[in-house]
Amino acid sequence: MKVLVPVKRVIDYNIKVRVKPDGSGPDLTSVKMSMNPFDEIAVEEAVRLKEKGVVSEIVVVSIGMPQAKDTLRTALAMGADRAILIEATTDVNQDIEPLSVAKILVHIVKDENPDLIIAGKQAIDNDANATGQMLAGLLGWGQATFASAIEIADGGALVTREIDGGLQTIRVKLPAVVTADLRLNEPRYVALPNIMKAKKKPLEERPLAALGIDIAPRLKVVRTVEPVGRSAGVRVASVDELLEKLKNEAGVL
């Protein structure tokens, strides 16, 4: 069984994000970038399925800057077998929208014929949470989003999903698209010997132009603002005063 895992290179989750002075988006010049954490979970899940003997090959794909090769190397070091980079831009500020990503992935899927696609549920940069769903739609495949457990059996996948108020288990036929939620697993540390071994694994670079897909944005970012700083706390003299403030000031009761 073959698994395809799309991975995105995003601003590192440890970095304090700053908005550009003109408000056009986050400042991405010379900040540390790394693999989207949900994609890391997706890669980890694919590797665990391979270690269980369920999966025979893991192909990772990234779409974006040439530097996304670093991200793919990390995925290879985690245990993926092969990597494909679609070179789509040289501008770090160009966010390729979910629909474009999904269309590009359709091309890859047609070449690779995977039995399963495991994707991160969303990227931590734009939080769109749409690529997996759009990809399933374009392919006409089943989808199981927000997975916190995946079990492969009888030509299908049994996926536990985190929903409001509890867990839901659904069964999807393969091939299918599964998107990984936070609690699916805890990704491993990339072992040092595997970093060396990953350098010898195949990483194929393809220009976007060959696919003939227009990635011009359909959305317009009107404004980006930093979150409002937390204001100082206040002391209340009594429980009554607390309740009064919660009702009338905070509006939470």
Binding site: S34, K69, D70, R73, T74, A77, Y189, V190, A191, L192, P193, N194, I195, M196, K199
Partner: protein, 380 residues
């Protein structure tokens, strides 16, 4: 930054591991003076021991610069843990360079920490002046008989195998010493009590006594009579490692000090708004960066096969002195809190001190730098 993609990847792994596993455990390990087997097992799984061991011998085969990067990151978590990595690195480098194929078979055990090692040089009368050692190995048939005592040996209370420098020829001075691989569970080996140290307290340090310990013919590492030179051959790498470790301690202090200065309020504002505190932070940052660059430059010289002795001594000396001075600054930024047990900077200051002493005191490093200057000229 000039690190390549692979070195950055390694740094990221070491950094996450240090942040998530080592640093949160450091306070308790210091307090309890405990050998953290569980952390070492995890490190072994991630491949954080034996960084330079080539792939064909079971390691990842990284260069010295990568090793220095790992040492700094681990030490940022906790210096004792980094020092274990440094010890394993030295022993595995000795085995890679001087070991017979049979001796090299122990490498997988050494870098997985299933076999704990000790590097046994220092004696009561032989610290900086190694030529003063009195431990002897006398030829006995095919093998040797070991007698003597070692002091302040890292891992002595827990180690399985010692790499012991002993005199094999009383007349031959520095050409009369040899290194032996000694089973520390063998008859005739006695372990002294564990020492209670000022800093790096999770490192287990103690003495070893050898009474008529029988050694087989395979026990000799490298050539007989060349033990001093064998030992010296890994000295440069050892110094780079300790220098990187010192940078890591200071870096942890800087991070703590910057965070604290941005939250602690006095006179109605954050103390980071006072120029007096800003200058402390600025001096810390610039000296740490300067030390780091010295370390990386020395490591790079080793990797290029250039004469690195002067650079390694400069890196070790500067980084050690810097770590002590700048962790003292970190304590200063914390004020009274920084003097209290349980605050990270208090531990960092104690942990830093030994970096001026071990792996060659900083006085010896200055002697080496001066000797190199006068012998080879002021230009490099």
């Amino acid at each position: 930054m000039y690190l390549n993609e692979t070195q950055e990847q390694v740094r990221d792994t070491a950094r996450s591991f240090a942040d998530e596993v080592i640093r949160p455990a450091a306070e308790a390990l210091d307090r309890e003076e405990r050998f953290p087997s569980e952390i070492y097992e995890e490190m072994a799984k991630v491949g954080l021991f034996g960084i330079g061991v080539p792939e064909e011998l079971g390691g990842p085969g990284f260069d010295t610069l990568t090793y220095a990067v790992v040492m700094e990151e681990l030490s940022r978590g906790y210096a004792s843990v980094a020092d274990q990595c440094g010890l394993v690195e030295l022993i595995s480098t000795l085995l890679v360079r001087h070991g017979t194929p049979v001796q090299q078979k122990m490498l997988p055990e050494v870098i997985s920490m299933r076999r704990k090692v000790a590097y046994c040089i220092t004696e009561a009368e032989a610290g900086t002046d190694v030529s003063g050692i009195r431990t002897t190995a006398e030829k006995d048939g095919e093998g040797w008989v070991l007698n003597g005592g070692k002091l302040w040996i890292h891992n002595a209370p827990v180690a399985d195998t010692g790499f012991v420098l002993a005199r094999t020829d009383k007349e031959a001075g520095n050409r009369g010493m040899s290194i032996f691989i000694v089973d520390l569970h063998a008859n005739g080996v006695d372990r002294g009590p564990k020492e209670h140290k000022m800093g790096q307290r999770a490192s287990q340090v103690g003495g070893l006594n050898f009474t008529d310990v029988r050694l087989g013919p395979d026990a000799l590492l490298g050539q007989a009579g060349r033990g001093f030179h064998t030992m010296m051959s890994v000295l440069d790498k050892g110094r780079v490692g300790i220098a990187a470790l010192a940078v890591g301690i200071a870096q942890a202090g800087l991070e703590a000090a910057v965070d604290y200065a941005g939250t602690r309020k006095q006179f109605g504002k954050h103390i980071s708004e006072f120029q007096g505190v800003q200058w402390l932070l600025a001096d810390m940052a610039k000296d740490i960066e300067a030390a780091r660059l010295l370390v990386h430059s020395a490591a790079d010289k080793i990797d290029r096969g250039q004469d690195a002795t002067r650079s390694c001594s400069m890196a070790k000396c500067f980084a050690g002195d810097m770590a002590v001075a700048r962790t003292a600054d970190a304590v200063q930024v914390f004020g009274g809190s920084g003097y209290i047990r349980g605050f990270e900077v208090e531990r960092l200051y104690r942990d830093a001190k030994i970096t001026q002493i071990y792996e060659g005191t900083n006085q010896i490093q200055r002697m080496i730098i001066a000797r190199e200057l006068l012998k080879k000229g002021a230009r490099t």
